[in-house]
Symmetry: C2
Subunit: 552 residues, 2 copies
């Protein structure tokens, strides 16, 4: 039997667009003699629809779309994802379902059992867990239809204080009683550079546990913070990857179930650091591109300082949107060094990006004059540093308002973690490109960008990082060296280790406690930060919900 994997990029709430993509894939599959085509989780409406699931008109549109797709399933079976109504009057109103469509109608509906409700996932907010199990048969093959988390009943733990069995039920244990020939998994699984091994392990362990091949179809494309990487897979009965679809782009692949019994050479190549950085880069490019395309924008701006963060953001934005869609502003103050301006100009010219230079000193003096009565006799302090950042923020928003360029935020995760940034200043932006990327990884991205020839000026990479908001300022005046800081932050945020454990791993106690305190007490700044492209297992924003008002 020929099975098609349709790895597509959907837009949430755009039923016509999503449906038309799916119908095209069905036609393509028919032409290839495919008997079964599989789409990703909630493909009809796009994932994640969030609270649109609470709106009647949205559910009606899902149902209409399912029926229209079903009418086009003649001579082919399709498995598509959509919410469905729970007919039991008790429990949540919806299920997260896989619809099996054939002969022009809905043949059966299979509901998701394990509802991830952690990190960025809120599925129990909307869905009732399934408790009825059955398989389907297509062309004589018995298939266990599962949805994403359904295969994650026993997952490798991701943090120091976590458990592997988050659910009381194992859907595949229930489904294996029907002696299926293979497992199909419809997914919407977002990318995390430090989660890929866990994901692969889950699939191979399911194969080994149940002795069944797996066909995994993942969504691709970014929706605000979440970047779905695709990378759909076919695993044989030995847990080897027979086929892997492209990462970070749409793909369509037809396989034959005969091939599920073949073997391949081992392909468990350990991920290298270079590959990790390249994937982060590709993820962020997709994140930028989809944010703009799906929001209906094409042009972007940012403030180019001569520092590493804005340089890397600009290079990535140019790759994602094209240099003709970028326009940047250089906004030196009296504390800006000439080399910073030179580096910024050099980068803009190399990337062929239009730039303007506005010296902010005159505006700053205007504010000083306006505030002179209030601040009479007082020394300059962080107020004046923030004011410079906010003037720059205003200028960028003025350009954004006048010409329709969305402002890209250039803050990195290390800064966001410890509150090293100005609210309503350099924290402005429609989208944060680097907000889930630690400073040490930003440097690695710079080297990656320069891998063939120098794009980002060497001087930008080698000079000590500085906000240039007061004379001779260096980041290291206020913060530990980034190599140390980032290592502490990763242990605290991604790995959720306690301060005691981090200190026991060889970090200076005072530095660890100070860093953790900064993370905790700067929740108020991050509360108002732009959406951050998520590339790790624990990004700031929706997936990390810490109390704003608490004792620290």
């Amino acid at each position: 039997m020929k099975i098609a994997l349709a790895q597509l990029n959907f837009i949430v709430n755009h039923f016509e667009y999503n449906r038309s993509k799916m119908l095209n894939a069905i036609e393509q599959a028919k032409r290839s003699g495919v008997e079964l085509i599989v789409f990703s989780e909630l493909s009809v409406c796009g994932y994640p629809p969030y609270d649109l699931l609470e709106r009647e008109e949205f559910i009606v549109k899902c149902q209409d779309s399912i029926h229209e797709i079903a009418r086009n399933c003649l001579g082919i079976t399709a498995i598509v994802g959509s919410p469905s109504l729970n007919s039991n009057p008790k429990g949540k109103m919806l299920f997260n379902s896989a619809f099996v469509l054939k002969d022009g109608t809905i043949s059966s509906v299979h509901n998701k059992t394990l509802l991830p409700t952690y990190d960025v996932f809120d599925e129990y907010r909307y869905f009732e867990p399934n408790n009825e199990f059955n398989t389907i048969t297509v062309n004589g093959k018995r298939i266990a239809v599962t949805i994403c988390e359904d295969l994650w009943d026993d997952q490798p733990v991701s943090t120091s204080f976590a458990r592997s069995r988050l659910y009381r039920v194992s859907p595949m244990e229930m489904l294996s009683k029907f002696n299926p020939d293979l497992i199909i998994n419809l997914a919407a699984s977002p990318f995390s550079y430090n989660n890929e091994e866990r994901r692969n392990k889950v699939f191979t362990e399911n194969v080994h546990r149940f002795g069944l091949p797996v066909i995994y179809v993942n969504q691709v494309g970014a929706n605000a913070e979440l970047i779905f990487d695709g990378g759909s897979m076919v695993l044989n009965r030995e847990g080897q990857i027979l086929e892997q679809l492209k990462s970070f782009e749409e793909d369509f692949r037809v396989i034959d179930t005969e091939s599920l019994d073949t073997s391949v050479l081992s392909n468990s190549a350990k991920q290298s650091e270079d590959i990790r950085i390249a994937k982060i880069y590709d993820a962020a490019i997709l994140g930028i591109r989809d944010y703009f395309q799906k929001m209906g924008f094409s042009k972007a701006t940012l403030g180019l300082s001569g520092g590493i963060d804005s340089a890397v953001t600009l290079a990535m934005a140019v790759d994602a949107l094209g240099s003709h869609n970028l326009r940047v502003i250089l906004m030196p103050s009296k504390y800006s060094s000439q080399h910073s301006v030179d580096d910024a100009v050099a980068l803009a010219e190399r990337l062929n990006v239009k730039y303007d230079l506005i010296n902010i000193q005159g505006i700053f003096d205007g504010f000083s004059k306006g505030l002179s009565n209030l601040f009479m006799g007082m020394k300059e302090d962080i107020t004046e540093e923030n004011l410079q950042a906010r003037i720059r923020g205003n200028l960028l928003m003025a350009l954004s308002n006048k010409f329709g360029h969305l402002l890209l935020n250039t803050s990195n995760k290390s800064e966001a973690a410890v509150g090293y940034g100005t609210l309503y200043g350099d924290m402005n932006g429609a989208l944060s490109v680097l907000g889930d990327i630690y400073k040490t990884d930003v440097y690695k991205l710079a080297h990656y960008i320069n891998r063939e020839h120098e794009i980002i000026p060497t001087n930008t990479i080698v000079k000590p990082p500085s906000a240039e908001l007061r004379p001779d300022q260096k980041d290291s005046d206020s913060l530990p060296e980034y190599e140390i800081l980032d290592n502490i932050l990763f242990r605290y945020i991604e790995e959720q280790k306690t301060s005691d454990i981090i200190i026991s791993e060889g970090f200076d106690g005072a530095t660890v406690l100070k860093t953790i305190r900064l993370v905790n007490t700067n929740e108020y700044k991050r509360f108002q930060a732009p959406p951050i492209l998520r590339v790790s297992s624990k990004a700031f924003g929706f997936g990390r919900r810490m109390p704003l008002v608490a004792h620290w």
Copy 2:
């Protein structure tokens, strides 16, 4: 038997503070001859702890606190709320539990069955639902211990597309098999002005269904957006309220179980509009006060425009924090009317609040000069309007940074809904006071504030609302009249009605569609808004999770 209801205001993660409050209450109860004292849900750690529940050190502190409180329970039984570890290796790691403490130790643990996972509640993110049921016996009385949502298995629907039975289990149906004498409910139930009747109905319906009196102990106090109103209650076997503790402040009440068999005159007074506004006022005052106290701040600032929103916010801030803690800035531009400045000055003087006046024209001209090359030959548009708002935002943040006054945001819910506000301008602030209060209710609050004598100048109340960002601007140039707008918004946001239904209720079709479109397409602005004091059943922010990137 004497039972004490301890309605206290806790700080999340402040174990010493919370424990000391609880131990004081236990001592007070002992002195009153109390046999059983009841605290609110998760009282040991404060509610809501959010993702602190995922941290090992937090759970260890909860356990330590429980043991220390237990050691003080000699000659008295206490029921306290705390997370507890799930000993079953399958399922979430924690339960949301009620610990029964007596004879210096933990006598039993009762876990929450129904885990609200909707609106602002994320309980299944952290907790496993209970599936074991038993009662406790104190002084011969058999008691069913329940936690908040456990009594909400059959709840009045709050929106047009909702169901009343969100759960498959009814904890009280299970517990009633043990023939209890009364129900105790530990709660952390936040205030919503349009949800109080639902809450009361849930209690009386439980009384009627199971023929049992209810003792309900709710948390009081605000934690960022969420305002817990207290109002703990004792209901007799007929569903009448025998005792009700104070709203919006701490309270402690001792009742005798003998009294549970008495009757009272009907007390189901229908809530009047005046009472509704007074409650919103009290809720917001508590919200402001607790935000500042719990964050360790005392001083606030805001921009006083002469308009209704900043006037109401200031009057409330003075009530919450004291006039000596307020300092405001008047920031007229060339579009500001003299009467606006006069009204603002009059209000500041009446409230005895220190004010400064900074004309922003000079700063605006500085920006215009800086941007003159970029904007050459272009007309003034919304860019220049936003720039004025952002200059004001910067000045307020400069005062905030220099003197340590937290900025209060003065935007109302109508504006937030339709995006009538400037990001990084008038949308700035540490806390939004009116962000969940529609403009028409802001006017009612102004009348409430003026109920004894004029505080807010009449002119501020009667003049047509205007942002004064261009000549002769009126809100009604861009928006429907607020009376209509707010009615459409309430139906769309709080009641989650479809556009078709709203139109069928007599609103102009084009106005409804335009309004809904504005709500949907301004999600990006609200994404970066300050925390908003929640007073309704559906506030912007954490409890309303709409996709940022979607098709509208």
